[in-house]
Every structure is written in structure tokens, then in C-alpha cells.
Amino acid sequence: MEKEQETKKKIPDVKISDISFKTELDGDKLYFIRLNRSERVQHLIFVICFIILVITGFMTKISKDMLGWLGTAGNIVFYYRSLLHRTAGVIMILTSLYHIYYLAFKPAGRRLLFDMLPRIKDITDMISNIRYYLGLEDNPPEFDRFSYKHKLEYGALFAGTTLMSVTGVLMWTEQDWSKFLIDISTLVHGMEAILACLAIMVWHLYEVHLRPHKFPIDHMWLTGVIDEEEMKAEYPIHYKKIMNDPELQKIYTEVRILTDQGLKKIGFIK
């Protein structure tokens, strides 16, 4: 009888959710670095510039009937629109130039460039991944550090930023060029903007916000790390590589204590 009472007493204390929550907070945990500090800062600057550029850029395409409410304030609004667009554009170009420098001269950048290079495996990965989506295969293909999705997106971003920067600067210095070149620039700048904007919305925002296990947001863009489970599931080849190579472990792994103190350390909470 005594024993039974003891177990009865203990049951309400032990909730499964409590345990998992506690262990997650208490234990040291192995984390894998996806973005280092420099990359996170580059991304953050890019995000802010991109949003400003999209808003101030598409402001020129609003129809006249929708601007009536601005009245005489329109003059000031347009002045700051132009100023913001150019400022954000310049910052974005500078960030991109730094990124190229980063790719060429920093060890981390070189590794990123090397891992980002397209390979034949990407094509086979894409085919088998789509086969997996369609239910023709039971498991998704095993990805290395960057999957074909990342590579396509990075390539599109690289090409898009180059085009937008060049055409933007051409339009900024319009009186030094032939009008035909400016016409082409205007057209390309506008069309590329639509393409980039839609691509970001459909491809990138889905990846980091709407995927079922990421919703509402993937915190990796701020913390820079993912846990071991996710690493195993999403990037198994890279995981194996890291676990077999102590050199890579130094670079890509980090033991973080996810207590309040730990969360503070990685900038997750204040």
C-alpha cells in the first residue's frame, strides 16, 4: 500500500513535456554552425536594404489615382523615397562588394564558395528530391552543406544583385549614357525587381517561415546554429563529414548551453 501511494504521489510531478523542456535547457548541447557572425551581419544588412528597396522601388509603379490622398505631401514623400532608395542601394552594393572580398580572401568565405559550387550531384539530388515529393521514393536525398535549393537561390541572388546594381547605377548617372541604354536599364531593373521579389517571397520566405517544422520562423538567421537532430535530418553528408574530421569539428561545431545565460550569449534573448 505504501509503495502504491508513493507512485501515485510521484505521477503528477513527472510530465513528459516538463522533462524535455528541462533537459533542453539544462544540458550542454552540440550545435552546428550554419552561418558565422560575419555572414549573419551580411544577411541582416541585406534583408533591411532589400525591404527598403522593394518598398521605395515599387512606389514608383503605384497608379495616380491611389496617390491623391498624399496631396502636397507627395513632394516630400517622393524626395525621401528617392533618397532612401539610393542609400539602401549603395549600402547593398557595398555589402555585396564586401561579400566578394569575403569569398576571395577569408578562409570561411573560401569554404563557403567551394561548398557553393555547382556539382553533378545537385542535379541528381534535385531529381530524386522531386521523386521523393511525388511519393516515388521513401526518403529524400542526402544533402551536403548546401543543397541544390541553396545553390540555386545563391546563384539567383548573385546574378540579380549584379544586374540590379549595374542598371541602378546606370539610371542614376543617366545623362552620361545614351537614352537607349537607359531604356534597357529601366526595363531590366523593373522586371528583375518583380522576379527577385516574387522569388524571395515564394522560395526563401517559404523555406524559412512556412515549412511545417520551421513555422513561424527559423531562428538560424539570428543564432547561426542548428541542433544535431536537424543537422542529421537536413544535411546528413555534411554531418558525417564533420563527425569524421576533427578539423571540421573545430570549425562547424559548438557546444552551447541553452540556459537563459546561453540564450543570452548567442543573442537569442536579451
Partner: protein, 392 residues
């Protein structure tokens, strides 16, 4: 505008006999009754037209069903640009009652006012002559233009909303202070005259219409496809594709409207010429000046050089489309259409190339966007469905 706010009756055709008898009846009535209510006039009505025309109910529907308001608001008229004129200065004739000898008002009529710089009788004939010689005039190369009813007349742009808004604001701002007026009436003792003179020239110190209003005015004709096609012109949707119009949309100060590029520098709007005329600011050799500094009035593209200035400002419209199409078929235009004819003459070979390049780029991007975004949407939807399935 109070005189337009009458009760709108259903359009009704009245026979002229009936109208005349009504007018007689009204006249008799006012002759005996109305005299007692007559108020002192702000400006002397020497011809006594207001004896009848001051009654707000005065008006009729004419034979075409159009509402004619014959009421004159004395105060408003006195404040209008023509407030110092007699009725008969413009409305020539009208000697009998009812008025059977009505003539249409001709703005070139000499109106018995001495023009101060020459002391000759004043009329608007100078402006009308310039206007007739302009691109909007009735005559081109010595021949009358087809469809004269499409062409603008004085009143098309000079809608008589020309009551100077400052007139009633005397004493309310620094520029219209009593002190300003005092500086005038010290010598020019008639206050009414001083106010009118002040308004006369302050009216001309700025444009009456904002850029957006100019665009609205010009597009009221130039956006009508049928009307423009009759004269071999494109509609100016091509302007609305430019960054110039983007600025106008937001009401940017000094944003370039139609006048800025099409009216010769140092001339009034009445002088607009076709782009083939060497005096036109869009004539090929005048372009650098027009884009760069407008004779010192504005500096839009200060460093503009010939290669930039000679390019096309408006977007390519259907003239370029026709020309490009004809060139592709390698045949001269077969249609009798005036637009097609002029497209053949106006669009240069180089421009057709430019048009084609832009067209190909646009098409390329349309396909690219459709394919890329389409496949992205499908890919991500598949991902979503599969991931959900796997989790459940």
C-alpha cells in the same frame, strides 16, 4: 459656381414660340414688380443687361437638349478676368429683345479698351494668331485640317474658372495686405482698378495649373484613341510610362509635364509646334538645351549630352509597333490609315531596332518570371504536402 446648382429638370424641348412668350411674360412681370427689388450694382451695368439676367432661374434647354444658363452672378462676373468689360464688348449684336441676332463670341473682337503699351484697341487677336499658327491651329501647310471639330478652341483650355482666387483674399496675407494695396492707391486712387491691376499681373507670375492638372487637360483629348487616330497621332499613354510622369503623380516640384518640353522656351502655351518645326524644343537640335537647362529656367539634366538628349522620351507606342511590323514584312504600309502612314515616316530605322530589343527583353523576362516562379510555387507546394504527410 452657384449658378450651376439649379434644380435639374428633365430635358424638355420647348418650341421657340413658347420661349418667346415666356420671355415676354417674364419681362412684363419684372418691369412692374422687379424694379422695386433692384440692388445697386458693384460695377456699373450701363447696358442694363442685368435687368433680366440677374435672376437665377433664367435659362433654357436649347434645341440639342443642352442646358443654357443665362443667369449672370453680378459679383462673380465683376471678379472675373472680364469683369471690367461691358456685355456687348464681347456679345456683339443683341440689339433687340428677345435677342434674335445672337452671334457666337469671338475672342478676337476688339473690345473698346485701350491696351496701355500701344494705346490701341485691345483684342486677343495676337494670341489667336499665334495659336492658329501652332500645332493646335485649324490650318496646316496652308490647308485646312480634317475634322476641325476635334481641335481645341480658346474655351477648351480657358474654362472660365478664371475667377482669381486671390481677389476675395485681400487683407488675409502679406502679399495681399491692405498695406500692399495702400502702396498702389496712393497714386492710383481707384481701389477697384488697383486690385484688378494687381491681380492681372500676379496671375501671370506662375502657372495657373499644377503639373497633374496640365496632364489632365492635355489627356482629355490626347488620350482619346479615336480622336488621335483621325489626326495620325498616338495617344500619350506613352508619356505615362516615363519617370517624368512618376514624378508628376507624386506632385514633385518642377516635375516635367507636357508644357516643359513642348512649349518653346520663353513662349506661351499657345505657341506649341510640331516636333518637326525647328522652333520646337523637342526638335532634334534643340534637345540638349531642353533637357539640360531650359535657357536657365530649370536644370533638369544639367550634364545632358547629345546622345542622351536625342533618345526617345515617351515610351514606344503603337506607331513603333506598326513600323516594326512593316519592316519585318519588308513591305511598305498597305493601309490607308493615317497613323500607319505617319508611323512609316516618323519612326527611324534605328528606333525600330531599339523597339525590337526592348520588346525581346520584355518578352524574355515575362517568360522567365512565369517559368521560374511557376516552378518554384509547384516545388514548394510539393514540399509542403510531402512534409505534412510524413509528419502525420
Amino acid at each position: 459656381m452657384t449658378h450651376y446648382r439649379r434644380k435639374s429638370a428633365k430635358t424638355k424641348m420647348l418650341s421657340s414660340v413658347f420661349i418667346h412668350s415666356v420671355i415676354y411674360a417674364v419681362l412684363c412681370f419684372f418691369f412692374f414688380v422687379g424694379i422695386g427689388f433692384a440692388q445697386s450694382a458693384a460695377a456699373p451695368d450701363e447696358e442694363n443687361c442685368l435687368f433680366c439676367h440677374r435672376y437665377p432661374q433664367m435659362g433654357r434647354y436649347d434645341e440639342t437638349g443642352k442646358k443654357r444658363v443665362l443667369y449672370i452672378n453680378e459679383k462673380m462676373f465683376a471678379n472675373s478676368v472680364h469683369g471690367n468689360l461691358r456685355c456687348k464688348s464681347c456679345h456683339v449684336g443683341l440689339d433687340t429683345i428677345p435677342h434674335t441676332n445672337i452671334e457666337k463670341v469671338d475672342c478676337s473682337t476688339k473690345c473698346h479698351i485701350a491696351e496701355p503699351s500701344t494705346n490701341k484697341e485691345f483684342s486677343h487677336i495676337n494670341m489667336i494668331e499665334k495659336f492658329e499658327a501652332s500645332v493646335h491651329g485649324q490650318i496646316i501647310n496652308g490647308k485646312a485640317k480634317p475634322y476641325p471639330e476635334d481641335l481645341p478652341t480658346c474655351k477648351y483650355c480657358h474654362t472660365n474658372h478664371m475667377y482669381n482666387p486671390f481677389r476675395s483674399n485681400w487683407g488675409k496675407s502679406e502679399a495681399l495686405s491692405k498695406e500692399t494695396l495702400a502702396r498702389c492707391v496712393g497714386c492710383h486712387t481707384r481701389e477697384q482698378w488697383a486690385k484688378r491691376f494687381y491681380s492681372h499681373f500676379t496671375h501671370r507670375m506662375r502657372r495657373r495649373r499644377s503639373q497633374a492638372e496640365i496632364i489632365t487637360l492635355c489627356t482629355s483629348c490626347h488620350e482619346n484613341r479615336e480622336k488621335m487616330a483621325r489626326h495620325g497621332l498616338e495617344t500619350i499613354e506613352t508619356y505615362k510610362d516615363t519617370f517624368h510622369f512618376t514624378q508628376v503623380k507624386y506632385g514633385v516640384e518642377n516635375a516635367p509635364d507636357c508644357i516643359d518640353c513642348h512649349v518653346p522656351i520663353n513662349y506661351s502655351t499657345h505657341y506649341i509646334r510640331p516636333k518637326t518645326d525647328p522652333t520646337s524644343p523637342v526638335y532634334i537640335t534643340n534637345r540638349v538645351m531642353t533637357c539640360s537647362n531650359q535657357g536657365g529656367l530649370k536644370t533638369c539634366h544639367p550634364g545632358a549630352h547629345a546622345e542622351f538628349a536625342r533618345g526617345r522620351v515617351h515610351a514606344y507606342g503603337f506607331k513603333a509597333k506598326i513600323a516594326a511590323y512593316n519592316e519585318k514584312l519588308k513591305i511598305p504600309s498597305q493601309t490607308k490609315n493615317l497613323v500607319a502612314e505617319r508611323a512609316q515616316a516618323e519612326i527611324e530605322h534605328k528606333e525600330i531596332f531599339h523597339y525590337n530589343v526592348l520588346k525581346i527583353i520584355r518578352l524574355f523576362y515575362k517568360i522567365l518570371i512565369a517559368v521560374v516562379i511557376g516552378s518554384m510555387v509547384i516545388h514548394q507546394m510539393l514540399d509542403y504536402i510531402r512534409t505534412k504527410k510524413r509528419h502525420h
